[in-house]
Assembly symmetry: C2
Homo-oligomer: 259 residues x 2
Amino acid sequence: MCELLGMSANVPTDICFSFSGLIKRGGETGSHKDGWGIAFYEGKGYRSFHDPIASADSEVAKFIQQYSIKSTQVICHIRKANRGRVCLENTHPFSRELWGQVWSFAHNGQLKGIKKKPLNGYLPIGTTDSEYAFCWMLGRLRAEFSNKPTSKVKLRKLIQTLYTEIAQLGVFNVLMGDADNLYTYCTTKLSWLTRQAPFVEAKLLDADICVDFKKETSSTDVVTVIATEPLTSNEEWTKMVAGEFSVFCLGKKEFTGFG
Amino acid sequence: MCELLGMSANVPTDICFSFSGLIKRGGETGSHKDGWGIAFYEGKGYRSFHDPIASADSEVAKFIQQYSIKSTQVICHIRKANRGRVCLENTHPFSRELWGQVWSFAHNGQLKGIKKKPLNGYLPIGTTDSEYAFCWMLGRLRAEFSNKPTSKVKLRKLIQTLYTEIAQLGVFNVLMGDADNLYTYCTTKLSWLTRQAPFVEAKLLDADICVDFKKETSSTDVVTVIATEPLTSNEEWTKMVAGEFSVFCLGKKEFTGFG
C-alpha cells in the first residue's frame, strides 16, 4: 500500500513541513520504498517531481524538502508497489490535460478488473491499475462534457459517480485535482486537518521537527492537509469514513457526500 | 528568442555538461531570463523540471546541473518571452500523452496566426503560440492515426508535413520528442554534433568547464546534441539549413528531409 498527501490552500503555501514527515515513510519509518512523486499547482501552471527510488534516499526529495515551492494545491504519493514494476512511468501522481487544465491523480489501493473497462482517448503510459483508472475517468469526463461544465455541481456529481463505480473494485483512497479543486475518496484510510487562525505549533510524528505556524502564516490563511495517516502528533485529524467523497477548494472542505 | 538544447543517445547519458553551458545563457551570458525547463525520457517514463525564473538564478537549475539524470532523450528550453506572459504554464517544454507515450515540445520563434488553426482534443494550458502549435499538431496526428502507426515512415512524413505548414507562419526552430525519436525542424538556427569513439575533450563556450568524454563514456556510446547555437568551442558543429527536417533516434541522425 502507498501513502498519500494532499494540500489545499487559499494562498500559495509551501508543504515542506508535511513533506518532511511523509518522505520518512518512504524507506525509513515506513516501507514505501518504490518511488515517490509530488505535484504542485501554481495558478494554471503545474509542475511535478518524480523519482523511482525510495523517498528517504532520494536527492530530488531532499531538494524539495529544502526548497520552498508555494502552491495552492499539492498532491504527493510515496509508493509500495503491488501492481506494476518499479519504474518512472509507474510513479504517481499521474497527470493529463483535460479542458485546458492539468488533472493530477494519486491512489492508494488495488483495483481488481479495472483494466476491463473501456478507455476513451486517454491511454496509460505505465502498467499500474491506478493510472488505468485515472485514464478511464478522464475519458468518461470528456465523453460527458466536451468543454468544462459551467456547473460545478454537475462536474462534482459525475466525479462522485465515477469514484463510487471504481471503489466497487477494491481499495480506492484517492486524491485527484484540477487547477481549482481537490476531489478525494476514502475506502479505508484518509484523514484531514484544516489549519487557520489561531495557529499553533505542530509536531511531526515521523521526524523530530516542529513548526510554529503562527510565525509562518498570516491570520487569513486557510490550509487543509489530507493524508492516508495523520502526520502530526498534537493536532486533531478527522478520519474519513468508508465511501466518503469530499471536495476541497482554496483550503476549505466545500462538499462531502457518501456513496 | 529562446534557446533550445536536445540530446539523443543510445545509452542513458547525462546532460550536465551541455546544460551547464546553456543555463548561463538564461540571464548571464544571454538574455533569456523568462523561465526554463528540461524534460528527460527514461524508457517509457518521462519527467520534467520547470522554473518560471532565469535559469542562471534558478535553484532547480543548480540542482539539475549537479544531479546526474541518465536519459536517452532530453529536451531543454530557456525562454525569452515574446508571446505569453512569464509564468509556469508558459514555460517549455510542453508535454501531452498521445498513443500511450509522452510527447514533448520546445520551440524557438514566433508564429503569426497560429491560433486561427482549429484544435482537435488537445487544448493549451498557457497562452503561448508554441503550446498552441504543439496542441494543433498532436490533434492532427491523432485525427490521422487513432493508434500509433506501425510505419515509422508514415508518421515521419506526416510530422514533416505539419512542421512545413507551421513554418509558413514565421520562425520555427523546434525539438519534439516521443519516447523513441526526436523530430527537429530549422528555419533560422539549429546546429548538431554527434559524439562517438574516439572521444575527445570538449570545452564549453559559456562557462569555463571542460569535460574529457574518454573518461565518461564507453567505446560504443553514441550521443548527439542539438542546440540553437553551438555550445562548445573546440568541436565541429553542423549547422542546419532553412527548411531542414531531421529525425534523431538512439544517438544517430536517422533521416533528413527538406521542405
